[in-house]
């Protein structure tokens, strides 16, 4: 029964993630991505290897100030919080959800274009963003075929 509930919850989350890929709302895409990441870290052994010994602090902010989310990787786990954190390894400030999506996870990513157009502004160590981008892409590749 518990398995069934977990499966249902995951299915909902994948659907939400799939929907958010076409959404304009930054918070929805980012929150869904981070929540899904947290869950898949728990349920997927291979994916969990990405956490091993990884220390990283990410700060995501929207340019309009509406979204302030931090993701902190430490002690082989991932925490997500809606606040400003001290000394992030990288801060990613994005114009809107679409630009963030394009930056991190779009099938044809446009990282350089996003930065050149200043749709996304980063401050800090981009290597952390590259790792995050990989983990996000892995999720995208894992996404089950969902009914339309």
């Amino acid at each position: 029964m518990l398995d069934l509930i977990t499966q249902q919850a995951q299915k909902k989350l994948w659907e939400k993630f799939n929907n958010s890929l076409t959404s304009e709302v930054a918070e929805e895409f980012l929150q869904t991505l981070l929540t899904l990441m947290q869950i898949v870290f728990v349920v997927n052994h291979d994916y969990r290897k990405n956490l091993k010994n990884f220390q990283g602090k990410y700060q995501f902010c929207s340019q309009d100030g509406e979204v302030t989310i931090a993701a902190v990787f430490h002690n082989n786990r991932m925490d997500v919080m809606e606040k400003k954190i001290d000394n992030p390894n990288i801060t990613i400030t994005f114009r809107d959800g679409k630009t963030l999506l394009n930056f991190i996870i779009a099938p044809r990513q446009d990282i350089l274009g996003s930065m050149l157009r200043h749709d996304v502004v980063t401050e800090g160590n981009l290597n952390y963003l590259y790792k995050f981008g990989f983990m996000a892409k892995q999720l995208q590749l894992m996404m089950p075929q969902l009914p339309r």
């Binding site: 290897k49 990405n50 091993k52 010994n53 990884f54 991190i104 044809r108 990513q109 446009d110 990282i111 350089l112 274009g113 930065m115 050149l116 157009r117 200043h118 502004v121 980063t122 401050e123 160590n125 981009l126 290597n127 952390y128 590259y130 790792k131 981008g133 990989f134 996000a136 892409k137 892995q138 590749l141």
Partner: protein, 827 residues
Amino acid sequence: MITLDDIRLKNFKLENLPRLKELRSLSFARKPEICIERARYITRYLRDKDDTNDSPEVRQARKVNYFLEHKRPVFHDRNLLAGTTTSKALGAPLFPEFFALTLWPELDTVSTRAKNPQKLTADEAKELNLEIFPYWMDNNVLELTRKRINDEKNPKAAESLRLFESLVFFIAAKAGCISHAVPTYAPMLEHGLTGLISMAAEREAAALAHASDDGNRHADFYRAVQISLEGIIKYAEHLAEEAAMMASVADDPQVKQEFLDMAKVCRRVPAGPATTFREAVNAIWICQVGIHAENINMAMSPGRLDQLLYPYYKRDVEEGRLDIGQAIELIGCLWLKIADNVTMVPEASEEMFGGAGTVPAITLGGVDADGEDAVNDLTYIMLRVTELLCIRDPNVNARYDYEKNSKEYCRRVSEVILNTKAVPAFFNDRANITALKGQGESLEHARDYAVIGCVELASSGRDYPASSSIMLNLAAPLEMALFQGKRPITGEEQIGPKTPDPATLKSFEEFWEVFKTQLDWLLEKAIALNEEMGRVHQHMMPSPLLSAFFEGPMDKGRDLIQGGSLYNSSGATHIAFADVVDSLNAIEQTVFVDKKYSFSKLLQMVKNDFAGAEGEKIRLYLKNRTPKYGTENPIARKNACNVVGHLFELYQAHTNYRGGRYRPAYWTMTNHAGLGGITGALPHGRKSGELFASGITPVSGAAPELSACLNAVAELGGECVPGCWALNIKYSPEGDVGQMSERFAQTIEAYFRAGGQQVQFNIMTYQMLQDAKKHPEKYPELMVRVSGYSAYFKDLNELMKDELITRTMYDLTNGQAVPYPGDKGGE
């Protein structure tokens, strides 16, 4: 002296050179694969074996030695030379010290991406993700620079870093590499690596005899040289063992013999002195592979191979060991080996760098140390190989001294350009030797210059020029001058100093001062960051192996990165030169001379991207009625000279961390397309997003007469452009190559006599390129000159393809530009 009966060597064709024909076909059929071998071994070494108490030079040497010891000896085909840059047939090696981690987001998709995929196996991707990349997250050049700046609490350098990371002001290229060098292999060929190791050992002992800090540092350097060169010898031994093993299992007697021959060569060289042409060629190649174990594969240029190899060629021919066909085959094998690697380009960078090779430059012809004609039989053999193979790398360049080299040589080079449609590029000995002498190089050394990468100049094996240190976007200070220190792309942020509103200025001279204020400010930022990164390189990435192939380090006991070379310059190149000059011209003529439009009106139009009917009317006026660089207009000539002169003075006033001067240059790779694509409208009638002109080339369509265009560029040459330039000229092909090469050669000579330093060509029409864009399958091997280097047209990004299509095309029969037919031309 030329002994060839036919300098064209037209009896030697791919049809009767089956090995080269097969290898060439293979080189086009191969798909690039990412090679993680170097990243794997240097990471393992640093993680498990590195002793941080060692000097930076010794740590680097041990790291490189460890990799070379473990590097797999492989033979992918029937090339006669042993050694490969990577473990793959066409490999993109990863250098995690620089930007390899940009590959991280696409580890699972790089093999299948739409544009220029690079194959990576699932196991390799896993190893990179879990084992290799995590080690480097905080340890590459860029992050160590950031840490250094933060630790020093250096706000000025922090501002420079921020500007660099915004990508739209300048590129601090040391984050990606220094490389860009021309070593000298003559001592290696004469003494063998064991000879060089013995010399280093003697000097180490002598340095240790002086018990001082300096003595110890020098001894450390000499020890590092020995350790790194021993790595190359180990690799050559492994090649010999593998070749012998391959011979033992080969059924075909010819193949068996070829492997036995390679095993024999690798047992002799590069450890011992080269005794034959073949040994010399293979020794050079194995040392090139060794250099790439230490330094990233970007513009590591073998240099004047026709001069270096000629004594070995001559002796073998005279003694009956070698004929011309065999020499062509060996040189062809070398060209194809040099092309065995590409750079790893993440999808995110395709827009800027897509299609670029690794640009190892070969330099042919010119004069010798005494100023006499240096063209020899091998020069013509190498030209013939270049003509037959017609491949992207190596980047072949022909030096020409119009007083000393023969007209036949000039015509032959012209003919090769016409037949390949793109290579080699032409370099003017008179102007370039003057430029290098202006940098304090002795006449003898300046005469021995070779081309690095795209177009940069260096005395062979004497000048460590870091020639790609800074790439400055000149449109940035122009926009900052127009908008009081702000740029449209960065919004309301005050970037540069707040200079006066241009609408309040009374003369063009006042605006010129404002422009210089912004330019000087930005240039200082770029230099400050280059200095910081240079110091990080000194600790993290010294080059004891490369130092062994330079004059200077062995005498000074100092690595190249510590100023060990005889000459120690840093290079800075500039993007949007022609567009900025034309904008200055438009402002001067329209606002201050003719008073046709006020500055505030002009600014309003630029801000609005010339929107609306009025905007379009003004734009067309600015585009068609204002002075253009590339013509004889005196305002245009004055402004071009002033920009070049001012940049020269600015850079020369700075001394770099190695004690050398900064040298300005004008080549753009593909950055003129990428940066043009994101820059707003400019005062010369350029709309937002239109591409910048390449290198030092006038804006497309702006220079209708060929001779005026060449003269306008040529008068900028000489002392003020010591880093050289890339001038791109497109000619419409003619039916009779013989007649065209005559006119072609005459035009070159006139341009060089006027002072032009360099020129490169595309011999193709607007329509042909439009067709190639539309039907890439019809042009799988079409090679084009971009801005200093060659590329396959099909591999370029869309912006670059458009830039090449719209470049002004001249008809050499009448010297006039052929009007661009518009986008419908290819239909």
